[in-house]
Subunit: 327 residues, 4 copies
């Protein structure tokens, strides 16, 4: 897998850990300006990719900042202990990315299309979140202890509203002036085993072209004027990626056939791209691969994300509290 | 029925024709500064209430402007001929309230709560509308003939977002700068026979306190900076209104009993209000009356409203076209 | 309030505690063949009405059996402690009504119309229930410990399917042969303060004419061939009931006016019925009263019911487990 | 593409035209006992595959009967003229498969999972169908002219109900005794260009293992006791198919490299299967490929299918009527 392929099919690499792996693979060495850390938990591995220098930014195709990835294959098995631990790790890592007073205003944004199951993670998280801004505004101070002021928006997608999502969010941000925006989105991954088992938290917000629906504009500190943290979970793999990986893996397994290896080395990459394009006509890069049980996976992961966010934002809430609260 | 009752229960009179009738009834004469016209159609009666003077504004409790009411009891019977005629009358009357170039931008807003059937009319109309702004922006000019640039928003309600609906809309309006806003909302009526059989079109937008959910802020030219046309359909009657009307009707039918008439005349209005309050505890003015088949009525009227709006905004669309287009 | 009124408007009295109160009120004495017990909990009162004799059956308009009512006004305030206690009381009372082996098959049925918010309690409970029959069937025995075999059905309503609900259920019952059916339904109450704060559990199943949608046929041991337990929560009051109660309360408060009292005594009941009929035209007994926040109330009570059922059926599940499990 | 592949991945070939092509390809000649006819329309091509002999049944992996395929790529472009024509062709072909009196009872069944967009075609068609059985039963005879008695069921999927779909349907069928069952389902195709552009009508019903969700039991005359017509539209391609086709197409394009051709010929098929299995871990044959706009495609095709069925069943209904009727 290499960058040419992603460019040819106009596919955005949503996960920083995947971008890092591809680029390091192509370079054959560590990427200067990128720092990678790992932490192990009972049911999860956390990888922190820090892009700290400008030229690393360009190499990685991602802005400078922190990209925290929680990998927990047990999530896919509906393992309750793993779900609980991942929600807690998510809360802890999320808190590590902001520093807000108790009375701060936070805007949650659920990106994506509620009519298309794999793209509905963001709106589903919004449905399950503890929205308090309207209570907070009118409640006596003593009742506000332990709950921050949270508002929530599921702006829909361009095909439904006719309006760029970023325009809707920016308009609302200018009215309610939050101190922080947390954006939740469905992502595309490079391999199917990441679907519903990986969570990425990035303090760089949303880049143009990312997400299943290829959100067209960025949603980040630059465009919004306040810090934006993006939480994303892969729910699909682009079908072109599957096709490309299959061909590569096919050839790899034939590597010990020297003639073939020779032929492969002489192949221009666009030969394979043309093959893939033919197979995916008339949709080309616009096809996604999902497991059949994607609806159940979206439901269970949306609950983990909503629970993690609630614990991170509302100091008075633990997971039991959140589960009872949520109706 | 009198104004004291509405004040006591903090109930907004959404329909201008009802406000007009009550106030004229109390005054015992025509209201200066209000002009009323009527037109008859095969399956519908149209009443146009024009509030033209400032003191009429105060008497009526509604801003100066045009309030067009289409009454069509046949709508409730799922009468297809009536549905078709009402959609066409709606389109015609709507067009009479704006004067826009072919390339104007229009923002449709569906107010209300999609989780509460009687309050879901606005979002349902949005679901069935022809949104074109995103196509228009990129389409060659020759393809734009006959379709105006329309965007659409269902902003949700305060309890879901934590944000005043008017703030969300105003934020979006400042970004996309439409020339006209059309707002669709579920209304409360003074009698159950108006449910799903009356449509009000007003060029004064939405007043604070109107609608089922008592939208708290106004959505009108003053707050939005552009003309706002509101289309509303009663889907509920306040339960306090039903209780009050029942007592009044009960006493009316006993009128020829002179003692009773005497007693009734001596009753302070708040005696009845207290009775009603007792019965409606702990919800008081916060209870609504709907027919059991409200879901079917909302679906059929939302289609008529969406069809009427499409015909009014897109010169190239007739009702058959709209029905085929709509998926 | 008396039985004549309910007959005149063809309104079913869904709650046994209400039927009992009305009939005892009319009789002016205890009803032979009916035994009433009360238990107090921290946040709830439980009333058990046992109809034990045949002539009590006719007087009460309900078949012999146990009607357990949990009343918990705190439910309406989204009080988490009350929600937890009520779920546990519900589980305990439900268990008192059946005696099943560990490997019994249970069919849950959620009655009602998912498109009409107040009638959607049954389908919402089904959505949140732990369905295990398909796992149970293929799982090794040691994995089945603590989970009973549960299947679930939301058959819809006559207007959607064209088929009597009881026919659909009976057809499925004959195929899967459950040992017990638990039916969940939205009920109508006689006063608004019962909405979303009262739960009735009856081992007599569903009587014809009960529920918001006036389910036409009975769903009980006689029609289904296996025991049927019905769990119901009032989500509406019939608008005719509100009107009637208002008139009665109005006259009560005027009772110390002797002439009026005299007149009232001479009024035939159908005088008031005619008044109410006039006010509710053209819907008559077909109008329901609900609080505006009914969507939130349905969501929170459906979670309590689903949690209580899960605890009662699956010995291995406590409320925390259920909350984590539920995605 | 060959049968070994489908067996290895346990993938059902839903479309008879595709099965026919593969098997004829492998055999290198026409298949005895299979008759194929073609008809051309303005916007559609109709292929009729008749399996008439027992040994053809085994070769094709499909029971004897008629498989009518309507192919209309214009459907995907939201072409209104094509939509209208396809709905009419569907109605005509559907009518060619049954011969029923005016007062026949027909049961529509929408298979699939309403929570998973690509699998929601069946339930969406049910939502948009004209259900009349409950009206028919009570309506005077003169009002029944031109409308047949139609009931409708969306039984859900095993993971939601815990009950085999065929058991639910069979139970209902035994109660309401329809003369004909029409089942609508989402299918899997062998190439992405068939998604939302091909409709298959088969008088053999549903075979075990077909459909996106691999419905486990058959729904056909044998299991139901009455004729079953299945209408299916491909909404996905299995990801393993995409991977296999990509490898095959890759090798085809390298065919003129003789060494490679040699190597390929010597490859056992399970070499490629192993490659594909590796890439699709941990989901293997359980991954589907869909276009990103699948929600819009499902909506538009469900309307065409519901319109076609209504025209076929109700002699009094044409497409305009249906569009106005449908709310």
């Amino acid at each position: 897998m290499n960058l040419d392929f992603y460019k040819a099919f106009n596919i955005h690499i949503d996960l920083a850990v995947e971008a890092h792996e591809i680029i390091r693979g192509e370079a054959g060495r560590e990427i200067p300006g990128v720092i990678v850390d790992r932490e192990k938990y009972e049911n999860a591995t956390v990888t922190i990719v820090k892009i700290v220098e400008e030229n690393a930014e360009q190499l990685m195709g991602k802005p400078r900042g922190n990209y925290i990835t929680i990998e927990a294959p047990a999530l896919r098995d509906n393992n309750r202990e793993a779900q609980r631990e991942v929600a807690e790790v998510l809360a802890e890592k999320l808190k590590s990315l902001f520093n807000l007073p108790e009375n701060a205003n936070i805007l949650l944004v659920g990106l994506g299309n509620w009519n298309a199951t794999p793209d509905s993670l963001g709106p589903k998280v919004i449905n399950q979140s503890m929205v308090t801004r309207h209570l907070y505004k009118y409640a006596p101070e003593e009742l506000q202890g332990g709950l921050r002021s949270v508002s929530a928006l599921a702006p829909g997608v361009l095909g439904i509203t006719g309006i760029e999502t970023a325009e809707i969010i920016k308009g609302v941000v200018e009215k309610i002036e939050p101190e922080l925006i947390i954006v939740v989105d469905s992502l595309a991954a490079g391999s199917v085993e990441r679907i519903a088992s990986t969570i990425q938290i990035a303090d760089t917000g949303i880049s143009p072209g990312s997400g299943i629906g290829n959100r067209r504009s960025g949603i980040n500190q630059e465009t919004m004027g306040v810090p934006v943290i993006a939480i994303g979970i892969p729910t699909v793999v682009n079908a072109a990626v599957i096709a490309q990986v299959t061909v590569e893996h096919f050839l790899e397994k034939l590597q010990n056939t020297p003639v073939l290896n020779q032929i492969y080395k002489n192949l221009r990459p666009d030969f394979t791209h043309q093959v893939i394009n033919d197979v995916l006509q008339p949709f080309a890069g616009n096809l996604t691969v999902t497991p059949k049980e994607i609806d159940a996976l979206i439901l269970s992961t949306s609950k983990i994300v909503a629970g993690g966010i609630s614990m991170a934002l509302h100091p008075a809430i633990d997971l039991e509290e959140y589960n009872m609260y949520l109706n």
